[in-house]
């Protein structure tokens, strides 16, 4: 599985959505991406890529696209 596939999987599995919904997806844009969903998503991404995100990155992780940028900082190329 490529890193992008893994990244997408964390979203679809944690938030219970399909891949088609990922583009342009934002925090609080769907009911499942609320603060509980956000915690689950961050944990799933940390587990998947074996990283530990900083506070600033967790609270800056406001969209599907933004998350990709943030992961670059942790040397995860998507």
């Amino acid at each position: 599985m490529t890193n992008l596939e893994k990244y997408n999987k964390t979203f679809t599995e944690t938030l219970g959505i399909s891949e088609e919904e990922l583009q342009g997806l934002e925090y609080q844009g769907i009911s499942q991406w609320d603060s509980v969903g956000h915690m689950g998503l961050v944990s799933a991404i940390e587990d998947e890529f074996d990283i530990m995100m900083d506070t600033d990155d967790i609270i800056d992780f406001s969209s599907y696209e933004k998350g990709k940028e943030i992961l670059k900082k942790y040397d995860v190329e998507l």
Partner: protein
């Protein structure tokens, strides 16, 4: 309730867009409401915004009785509540899309909220009745708690005393104001003329922390889940020099987390105060003084000023010895008048006489500190919000006619037991949507049939065993 005029042009609330409202403006809105609304019932569709807060405060002071409802409540559930209580007006955010039927023209609009007439008749209200709060907000249960002016004042004065709140405080909102704990933070700070920092942003958002730092918030409250989030956000490493006090309520915090926060706060010269309460007691019944937070870790403390606890055993005997579990009874002026299930109940007087059977099982240690150990009633706290399990049963059975179904769980984890595998996924999504709960907190289990005893009662212990809870 509040003396807005005493605080003049001091700021009562400021939001994260820089909008402000002064105590003078609150006083003006109070006068306006007195004139155009009068003594009647109004649904306040709450959000953490100046309009919602100002509307609430002005209504209470003007003798209007608000029913506090989450502005995001499912439309159908809101319609049911409106049918049950027939409020004369709604106080509703201007940006809320609604298909609700309106009567006549818009009555008044201010601070991003509008007053909308939906009925022509005034329901009969008891003279003491000040406020109505939901017991299980997101299931849209029609059961409301009736709070009197005396209840709110007594609880507010007690909280102001034990938390030592003065007009230099700047609490930041982290809880909804239709939730009694969030509301008590508003009540107490308006009482002393402090400035409330109000935002609908969550702890998960950069904008929240920006607002926190820019406006130098001094305190906030949180439910157990809030503290889990804070830990995840590496709160212990955050630099927040303005923060002086953190309170916790809305369910029992894991003792490990309690200790970590208590120790961190002690190190940084902050107060960490665990509390206990219920909507039925206006808001608060107990608190653990900050200086005892480490020593009495896991305890919810002692009764608040003006309140008194006792424990009652299975045979109604009073328990006086330490470490024996009994049902917790609370007495104080903040014990609410009772429940309402229909508009007719709004004319009822006090039914509790200052004594509340909490439904919580507790024990006391030898120093007189109380510990919650369990619950008698069938409800869960989901991320701080009370969810009545019988209501979930009702909602699912109403959707799937004739389905054999039950549910149970522990705080923050709801288990749905279906006897039809095909509808489990859809049923889970339906509930998540209906009661506004994250899917990750809902688990589905297939059972061939719901275990019942000879008299037809569901054996919840059997269901619990299936999922090891």
């Amino acid at each position: 309730m509040w003396n807005f005029k005493d605080f003049g042009n001091s700021i009562a609330a400021e939001d994260d867009n820089g909008n402000i409202i002064s105590y003078t403006q609150l006083s003006n809105l109070q006068d306006k409401f007195k004139k155009i609304i009068g003594r009647t019932l109004v649904f306040n569709l709450c959000s953490n915004s100046i309009g919602s807060l100002a509307g609430y405060a002005a209504m209470i002071n003007a003798g209007v009785v608000p029913v506090m409802i989450d502005a995001d409540l499912d439309d159908e559930l809101l319609e049911n509540l409106i049918t049950t209580y027939a409020p004369e007006f709604l106080w509703i955010p201007n940006n809320k899309n609604t298909a609700l039927k309106k009567i006549g023209e818009l009555d008044y609009s201010e601070y991003g909220y509008s007053l909308v007439r939906i009925n022509n008749e005034k329901p009969k209200l008891h003279n003491d009745l000040a406020l109505l709060l939901t017991t299980s907000g997101s299931t849209g249960s029609s059961k409301l708690v009736r709070q009197s002016y005396k209840n709110i004042k007594a609880n507010t004065e007690s909280i102001v005393e034990y938390l030592k709140i003065d007009n230099n405080e700047r609490p930041i909102t982290t809880l909804p104001m239709n939730y009694t704990y969030g509301l008590s933070i508003i009540n107490t700070h308006l009482y002393v003329g402090a400035k409330i920092l109000i935002t609908d942003k969550t702890l998960m958002q950069k904008e929240f922390w920006q607002f926190f730092r820019d406006k130098e918030a001094t305190s906030f409250g949180g439910v157990p889940y809030t503290y889990e989030i804070l830990k995840k956000l590496r709160f212990f490493r955050m630099d927040l020099p303005s923060l002086k006090q953190m309170t916790q309520a809305g369910g029992k915090l894991l003792p490990e987390l309690h200790r970590e926060f208590a120790e961190d706060c002690a190190k940084k010269g902050r107060e960490f105060i665990v509390m206990y309460g219920q909507t039925e007691a206006t808001a608060r019944m107990a608190y653990l003084p900050a200086e005892m937070a480490i020593e009495k870790c896991g305890s919810m403390g002692i009764a608040i000023p003006g309140g008194k606890f006792s424990l009652v055993g299975a045979d109604c005997e009073i328990i006086n010895e330490p470490d024996i579990v009994g049902e917790l009874i609370y007495e104080g002026e903040n014990v609410t008048m009772g429940y309402a299930n229909s508009v007719d109940d709004l004319s009822k007087g006090d039914e509790r006489n200052g004594r509340l059977i909490t439904g919580d099982m507790a024990k006391m240690d030898k120093d007189g500190f109380y510990y919650i150990v369990g619950r008698k009633k069938r409800f869960l706290k989901m991320f701080g919000k009370r969810i009545n399990l019988d209501e979930i049963d009702r909602i699912v059975k109403a959707k799937y006619d004739g389905l054999e179904f039950s549910c149970d769980g522990v705080d923050d984890s709801l288990y749905l037991f279906f006897t039809d595998e095909k509808i489990m996924e859809e049923g889970k999504r339906f509930i998540a949507e209906k009661i506004n709960l994250n899917l990750s907190a809902i688990h589905t289990v297939y059972v061939p049939s719901i275990p019942k005893n000879s008299s037809g009662k569901v054996m919840y212990n059997e269901l619990k065993k299936l999922v090891n809870i």
